[in-house]
Each structure stands twice: as structure tokens, then as C-alpha cells.
Symmetry: C2
Subunit: 173 residues, 2 copies
């Protein structure tokens, strides 16, 4: 759902094809095939994050908070992690994690306790309300994702997943 009305102004965002053509004009040795993949990845992701943002907003949380809930659920029962590990997974500084946890504790999505066995450490735990928020968000997200992939057959989905995973393996190793 972009501003599909052409009435907004003179400069609409170029289409993917226009974008690639323009880059080729400006940078001669560009591989259009590579550019198509990379640009599509970037644009897709931006659109998806906007969509997720709209969904989490209807639940009264932010995408940032949703990320924390995801990490805690991912950790599995009993849904506990240290702030440092959370920060690493989310790609944040420890300072940002401290503040984010502050807010989420105030909203009662998570708890923060000192680890009695090792009082340097802190343990962040998911509350029931937090787990429920994650479930609600998951419901919305999976519906959106299914809709996104609607035009792809099961076979095509398999191929796409496999190709993306190979790229990911290359970047993460």
C-alpha cells in the first residue's frame, strides 16, 4: 500500500526497473541481475517492516518491543535471558538494551531480576502478558506473510527459501 494515488506530487518513487536502468546509466559496469536481487531485497524489507509496524501498533507495542519478545520466546522455556545476550541478538548496545527493558518492565511485558547465583548478572523474563502479546503479534504476522507469498506455489516457495538460505549461510559464516 504505497501512495498509489498519483496525486501526491511530482516525484513518485521509481519502480524497480526504472531504478536499475538509472543505476546502469550512471555506473557502467553494474550487473543488472545482481542489482535486481539486491534492490528487491532492500525494498521488500522496508515494506515488510512498515507492515509489521502497523500490526504491532494495533497491539499497543512497537517493532522494537516485538523484537525483544521474539528473542525471549526463541530462548524457550522458561523464557529468560540476560540483557547482554539480548543486546547481542538484537544488534543493540547494552545501553540501549537497558532503556528498552526499562520501558518493557513498566509495561509489564517483561520482568527484570538480579541473578541470585551470580549477582553481577541480570535476568530478563517474559511475563504472561508478554507471551500473550507475542502470540497475538504472531497471529497477525503469519497472516500477512501468507498473504505476501500468496502468488508463489509451494515449489517456488521451496526454491526461494533454499536460495535465500544459501545467501544467508554465506553472510553469517
Amino acid at each position: 500500500m504505497p501512495d498509489s494515488d498519483g496525486t501526491t506530487g511530482p516525484a513518485n518513487e521509481p519502480t524497480l526497473d526504472e531504478q536499475i536502468a538509472a543505476y546502469q546509466r550512471e555506473f557502467a559496469d553494474l550487473d543488472p541481475q545482481v542489482e535486481q536481487i539486491v534492490s528487491a531485497l532492500g525494498r521488500l524489507n522496508r515494506r515488510m517492516n512498515v507492515a509489521y509496524g502497523r500490526q504491532t501498533a494495533t497491539l499497543g507495542i512497537s517493532n522494537a518491543e516485538w523484537e525483544v519478545l521474539k528473542a525471549l520466546v526463541l530462548a524457550g522455556q522458561p523464557y529468560r535471558m540476560g540483557p547482554g545476550d539480548l543486546a547481542k541478538q538484537l544488534g543493540l548496545t547494552p545501553a540501549a538494551m537497558t532503556h528498552r527493558i526499562d520501558r518493557m518492565v513498566a509495561e509489564e511485558l517483561v520482568t527484570r531480576d538480579r541473578d541470585e547465583a551470580n549477582r553481577v548478572r541480570v535476568i530478563v523474563g517474559l511475563t504472561d502478558a508478554g507471551r500473550q502479546k507475542w502470540l497475538d503479534a504472531m497471529e497477525l504476522a503469519t497472516a500477512f506473510e501468507e498473504d505476501l507469498l500468496q502468488d508463489l506455489s509451494t515449489k517456488e516457495r521451496g526454491i526461494l527459501g533454499e536460495l535465500l538460505t544459501r545467501l544467508l549461510v554465506r553472510v553469517e559464516s
Copy 2:
């Protein structure tokens, strides 16, 4: 380049497979195929942005500034756009655009002038130095992207590009 040394601490980021398995445990009606695609997309994009960030940093600019340069080049000769149109393309508020242009004018990457034909409007233009930065960044970026796709054959690249484009069309229309 993640923290591939396991020495960093107890909680390493789960692999994609572990992540999907965990979500399935916690959310029964999850389609693993869909989840693989969506999660791979998200993780890929995060890694890529980190990589781009390292590259632009070596050129003395930020990813944010690079985005502005890209938009101006994309507009084509004579590389001029209004702040409002820039903001729309980059997904920023006009306020953020004002500040970002302030910084880039100070760094002499762009110019800001009032449109004499319509004095409500402002015109942001690319300087020669700005265009050169874009070229330098493009050089680094294409090398990285080619490396990222190294394991995919030409045919596989074509398939991937086509599938991603179909998803993008669905989200952008």
C-alpha cells in the same frame, strides 16, 4: 563476520534452523516454509546493512547519507530533488530530512537553494564531491554484492531475482 568465536558467551544467536524449530514449538500452526523465507529475508537484510555500514564508514559517510546520494543520482541529471520528495523516497519525515540535509550541506555533499520560480520550494542538488562519494560507495557495494552472490549460478540468480520481484510487486501495488 558474526562473532564466529564461540568464546563470547553462553547465548549465541540461534541458527536459522534452530530459530524455525523453536517457533514451531511455541506456535503450532506455523508454516515452516513461509517462516524460512521471511526469517532469511530479515536476517539477510540486517547483515547486509551492517556490511554496507562498514563500507560507507570507510568513506567517511553514514548509511543515511548514502541513501540521500543514491536518491539524487537516481533522479538523473542534473541530480536535483526537493526535500519533500527525498523524504518520501527515503521514508523519513520532512523534519528529519531538513536535519539530514543540514549535515550534508556542511559536508559539501549537496547544495540547498530556494527555487526562484516558486519560492516555497527548495532544491537539493548533488555536488561533484557528492557524486564522487556515490561512485566510490558503488564500487565497494557492487564488490560486496558480487561476493554475496558468488555461490549462485547465473540461472539461480535469475530465478531468485524473478521470485523476489514478484513478492515486491505484490507489496508495492
